[in-house]
């Protein structure tokens, strides 16, 4: 992208990509865990309760790493685009304030759910679990309101001073589908990643445990499939919202495929995302038709599809978010047509080409590479140990 240094194009999307993949997993797992425990207790199914507890142990790790990369994303934005962050601070007290409150409630419910396991009544624990799941849906509310604002600054008023009318901002046509896509997408990712994880796991055990893991994988795939199907109309709704509010971005996302002129054509990313959606749907359809276990033996084709579904869901989310981010470049607010009506400081602040010259230094990029490579190796090792580590009973 002209005017935007390549490392800025790489670093910010990279940390955001990791963050968003883990956040989606976070939404899915924080819903699945209390549901599994509650169902297990209701049915007297110790296996399900035990799986829920094991998942909670892993979930705490993904939650924290998601938070780490989220903070890394905002710090990277602050370093390279301080004016943009400053402007956002002046305008977004309500949406980000709501997000902060939801985050606070979220960490409390997570800590409570983990540490009070077996220490309080089952009903109270389930209520904390419900709060844990619910806050997963609440946190994106504020963030997605801001993302919709970046599509089109609905609710921005300039007189007597720049401020945001929250009601108008929430009525932004791209807000509702974007928010709903986030929540349903998280549920899809969570379910399909669980389907893959349990498919991996069932090959390592025998007998009844294998049957149970196959059952879990199939159930997760079924719920994942439902969520992916719901995503399709939501995606169309979101595209309609973009077409309505920001033809510039719509053209960059998909318009070039329809003959529209695109300034930053990322339709290839859209095609990739659709291909990944197709993989998920194919995997889910296959698993609904063919069970993982037939007469106690593993069906290798079903197993392959199950193992593919989760990574495909994660890749779909990442490609979708990057598409959403890249398709408004070189602007942070995808309405270049409004530039003439905005004061110069705001136009500067929302330009992605306006990189902090004190940060845009080769030395900084060398430092970044030198620090990031070994640390990412450590993160990879962590996920390897989490997946392959000490077994489910550990």
């Amino acid at each position: 992208m002209p005017g935007i240094p390549l490392p800025v194009e790489f670093l910010i999307p990279f940390v955001f990509g990791v963050h968003i993949a883990l956040v989606n997993l976070d939404i899915g797992l924080s819903t699945a865990i209390p549901l599994m425990k509650w169902t297990g207790e209701k049915k007297g199914d110790g296996f399900l309760v035990e799986r829920s507890k094991t998942l909670m142990r892993y979930y705490a790790g993904t939650y924290a790493i998601a938070g780490v990369f989220g903070t890394a994303f905002t710090v990277a934005l602050l370093s390279f685009y301080p004016q943009f962050i400053g402007l956002a601070g002046h305008l977004t007290w309500v949406p980000f304030g709501l997000a902060i409150m939801a985050i606070a409630l979220r960490f409390l419910s997570i800590v409570g759910y983990w540490y009070l396991w077996d220490k309080i009544s089952s009903g109270l624990h389930a209520a904390i679990g419900a709060a844990m799941a619910l806050t997963g849906f609440l946190v994106p509310l504020g963030f997605r309101a801001v993302f919709a604002f970046l599509n089109s600054p609905e609710g921005l008023h300039l007189e007597p001073k720049p401020y945001l009318d929250v009601a108008e901002a929430l009525a932004n046509p791209s807000f509702a589908p974007l928010y709903l896509k986030s929540v349903v997408g998280g549920l899809a990712v969570g379910a399909l990643v669980l389907a893959s994880a349990y498919a991996w796991r069932l090959t390592e055990v025998e007998g009844e445990a294998r049957r149970r893991y196959a059952e879990l994988a199939s159930t997760a795939a079924k719920y994942g499939a439902i969520a992916v199907v719901i995503m399709v109309p939501l995606g169309v709704w979101y595209l309609a919202g973009l077409w309505w509010t920001t033809p510039f971005k719509f053209a960059n996302v998909i318009g070039s495929l329809m003959g529209m002129a695109a300034q930053s054509d990322y339709s290839w990313l859209f095609i990739l995302k659709m291909a990944l959606v197709a993989v998920q749907l194919a995997a889910a359809a296959y698993l609904l038709r063919r069970p993982l276990l037939a007469g106690g033996a593993v069906d290798p084709s079903a197993l392959r599809w199950a193992k593919v579904a989760g990574p495909a869901a994660l890749a779909t989310v990442v490609s979708g978010e990057l598409l959403n981010m890249f398709s408004q470049l070189p602007y942070f607010v995808a309405r270049p047509d409004l530039a003439a009506a905005l004061p110069e400081p705001i136009v500067q602040a929302i330009s992605a080409e306006n990189v902090n010259s004190l940060a845009n230094l080769p030395e900084l990029y060398w430092i970044t590479a030198a620090m990031l490579v070994p640390l990412l190796a450590a993160v990879a090792a962590l996920f390897y140990f989490m997946v392959k580590g000490e077994g489910e009973g550990g």
């Binding site: 606070a104 230094l361 580590g389």
Partner: protein
């Protein structure tokens, strides 16, 4: 005089009282958690090292318990950190923008610190059985290093806000004379040529020298404060104070240019000359700040672990098979607590105090309460003579040095006097904590089973937290009226859309409630048995 409402002076005497209060609550909630992120890994790796050396499985058990603790607090700390970060952006966007533009480097380096912390803390916890004990210990040390590295970065930014490397305090302890601090800047020659030397001199700007491409100047902080306020309010050069010191030709030529753009060139050039990657680490008192904060974290963590095991002992019966382990853990934590509080009270606290005396004389005057407007706490306890006798030597290294007089300081530069009481209550609690630490360690090593000592141990974490909070509060309240000492004041850093008071109060209460519920959850976790 007594009767002065110190709380009102703090909240209403400076702008944005509600916003400051909310920031204080948010950051305290974060700091409350963060102390465990910094302190618990040290205790865990030391316990593991003891296990490696002795083969005693109790040490391994203690290490695992502590690791389980810091895994959880790290996750909570990541969440409260995100909340605090957003809070700062939303309430103080101009400060945030300035930090991102000029002193981003340590913040940027925190990205890697976060990843390092996250990766190694969870490797330490999840992958224990997949690695040799020695490698596991090294991973634990890396987890601790990640947390301390993160602290070293963010505290360099805070130190810069307290005492930027290019701001010089003007207090002479040999005479007791005070003047406002000066800001040293490298002004690019192109801009310097647009300024009239006679007019500069008239407003107190001193030209210290010139080099290739710039002129070094010392500007009174009051003028810098005004220029920063004008720049962030969107004024042009013609509308600003800068026009008064510009040559007539320049005033006409660049009159319509935003003042912020001109100041940006000067500050960016100064930062480049001083070193983008190192300027925050050259802040006055940075090392003392880092060591004192880490010391506080280890102190709070040690007392908390001691308190938790004291509760477990109180809860268990004499026949409990774990009672020996509980006592061993109590002895371990008590020893740590004693060493930590002793270091805090002597070497680290002294270094911090000396740094404040040197770099922030106005804050030091408020801390010592050298004002006729209040009754000094040491005086009211009959210790005033003693304090006045030792303080000059302690703070300035000479018994003849003079402590800055609060009343001699221009009112525009005075911090709130509330910090005097915060500081001395902190000192008092610190001494109490030291005595408790000594008692705990002696009784733990002697194997005393007196219940009152165990109860005292159980409440000691609360005292440690209050002490730590008061220390941080002294530092932050004492920064007023500045956001960045000598450069930007509170009004300038504030958002142009301040939230209504009820929203600020609601969020503050909500965060306090979350912390209270978190503490209740921890209490239930510790107290209730399966």
């Amino acid at each position: 005089m007594p009767g002065l409402d110190l709380i009102s002076q703090w909240l209403a005497g400076y702008p944005a009282g509600g916003e400051r209060l909310l920031s204080m609550v948010g950051i305290e909630v974060h700091w409350f958690i963060l102390q465990y992120v910094l302190g618990l890994p040290l205790l865990a790796v030391v316990a593991e090292a003891l296990w490696l050396r002795s083969g005693d499985e109790d040490w391994k058990r203690l290490s695992r318990t502590l690791a389980k603790g810091f895994v959880a607090v790290f996750a909570v700390g990541a969440a409260t950190g995100t909340a605090s970060e957003f809070g700062l952006v939303l309430l103080w966007p101009n400060l945030t923008e300035a930090a991102g533009r000029y002193i981003y480097f340590p913040l940027y380096m925190e990205i890697f610190a976060f990843i390092m912390e996250g990766a190694f803390i969870y490797l330490y916890y999840y992958a224990e059985r997949r690695m040799s004990p020695k490698v596991h210990l090294v991973v634990g040390l890396l987890a601790m290093a990640g947390a301390w590295y993160s602290a070293s970065m963010i505290l360099s930014v805070n130190s810069f806000m307290q005492s930027p490397a290019n701001v010089v305090a003007n207090y002479d302890p040999s005479t007791g004379s005070w003047a406002p601090p000066d800001v040293l800047l490298y002004v690019p020659t192109q801009i310097a040529q647009a300024l009239d030397p006679n007019k500069l001199s008239a407003v107190g700007i001193r030209i210290l020298g010139s080099g290739a491409g710039d002129v070094t100047v010392a500007i009174p902080s009051g003028l810098v404060r005004t220029l920063m306020a004008e720049a962030f309010s969107g004024k042009t050069v013609a509308e600003s104070t800068l026009a008064a010191v510009a040559t007539p030709e320049a005033a006409q030529a660049i009159g319509s240019v935003p003042l912020k753009a001109v100041l940006d060139q000067i500050v960016a050039h100064t930062i480049e000359r001083a070193g983008i990657f190192q300027i925050t680490f050259m802040s006055g008192g940075y090392l003392a700040t880092l060591m004192h904060a880490l010391g506080a974290a280890v102190t709070v963590s040690s007392f908390t672990v001691a308190g938790a095991y004291a509760l477990r002992i109180l809860r268990s019966s004499a026949e409990d098979p774990d009672s020996e382990y509980f006592r061993k853990a109590l002895k371990f934590a008590s020893t740590f607590a004693l060493v930590a509080i002793a270091l805090q009270g002597t070497a680290l606290g002294h270094a911090m105090g000396s740094a404040v005396a040197k770099h922030n004389p106005e804050k030091f005057a408020a801390m010592e309460g050298t004002s006729s407007q209040i009754v000094s706490l040491p005086d009211s306890l009959g210790l005033g003579g003693l304090i006045r006798g030792v303080m000059p030597a302690l703070s300035y290294g000479s018994p003849d040095a003079k402590i800055p007089n609060y009343d001699d300081i221009d009112p525009d530069y005075r911090p709130p006097l509330l910090v005097h009481y915060m500081y001395y209550v902190k000192i008092g609690l610190g001494v109490l904590l030291g005595l408790i630490g000594l008692l705990l360690a002696i009784s733990a090593w002697r194997g005393s089973k007196a219940n009152w000592i165990l109860w005292l141990t159980a409440i000691s974490p609360a005292i440690a937290h209050v002490t730590s909070f008061l220390g941080w509060g002294t530092r932050e309240l004492g920064r007023k009226p500045w956001a960045i000492y000598g450069i930007m004041d509170v009004q300038t850093e504030l958002t142009i859309n301040p939230p209504p008071a009820w929203q600020l109060a609601a969020v503050a209460l909500y965060l306090a409630l979350m912390l209270a519920l978190l503490l209740a959850a921890v209490y239930v976790f510790l107290w209730r048995r399966r």
